[in-house]
Symmetry: C2
């Protein structure tokens, strides 16, 4: 029996472990710079920017979802961006991913959000099939660009102080 | 001479007009549901979720950028997601887009954000070339999925009340 609940401060260690497992699955372990301290600040600090929910199955931690509010100019409404959705391998095939997603969708509806969005690695075909089965639309005609590190610094340096 | 400034409540009408111009440029006019009232709430209400800056050139409104805070689990830090970047056609080629982007990059740095991200339509080759010249990386291996309207409702209905 799956139970979905909001994460609390005492889950920070668990969420940190789940993030590391997810990164391993995504073959992105090298990119994880999260610490429990930073996570606690982001999820439960005075300027918290994200929220998390935990899935439990037969009393065991089975997975999690982590999300934040986005915004659509065209809708002039907030949305929800699902940053992470993860179910531990031994708990897959039991509808836990769907239960987590449905929980986030319900939160979006309760908050009058216009849309729910998330990103998936192109090689993750099972996930893509699942998302399509829910009626989700692939934003195939859009590409996301990212600027970080030295590139972000260099661009920030170009801003005029008076700006 | 380009000047970048934070938008104020009195800019809501201007921002609304610029959003409509941008949608026309993106061939997405049919998707604009924004009203000035909704925009005012999103940008300046008690639960404001987004921020905007305005570019002025020789005293005229030349363009705008609109952004919100994102979050990276792997970094455990906030980022900035640039929802809109628009320069009116008659003001292009003067570095105004770069000035707007640089201003947002400086804001990201000031707030200790780990990254700045945005999306571009694949046919907008001039923009893509410009972004690459800044050192931005295309997240080609990721696809964004979107659930809205009836699909979002149907998924929300699947959430268990007890959840």
């Amino acid at each position: 029996m799956t139970h979905i609940r909001a994460a609390t401060r005492s889950d920070v260690g668990l969420i940190h472990a789940l993030i590391r497992e997810l990164a391993e699955f995504e073959k992105l372990s090298g990119e994880v710079g999260a610490t429990e301290e930073l996570l606690k600040e982001s999820l439960f600090g005075p300027d918290a920017v994200a929220e998390a929910i935990i899935a439990e199955d037969a009393g065991q931690s089975a997975g999690f979802a982590l999300y934040f509010h986005s915004y659509s100019t065209f809708l002039a409404r907030p949305g929800i961006y699902l940053e992470d959705l993860y179910v531990r391998p031994e708990f897959r095939g039991r509808g836990i991913g769907r239960a987590l997603l449905a929980h986030v969708a319900r939160t979006a509806r309760e908050r009058r959000c216009g849309r729910l969005e998330w990103s998936v690695l192109d090689w993750n075909k099972p996930a893509i099939g699942f998302y399509r089965s829910l009626g989700a639309v692939a934003m195939d005609e859009w590409t996301t660009f990212r600027l970080s590190g030295a590139g972000l610094e260099a661009l920030a340096d170009q801003a005029r102080r008076a700006g």
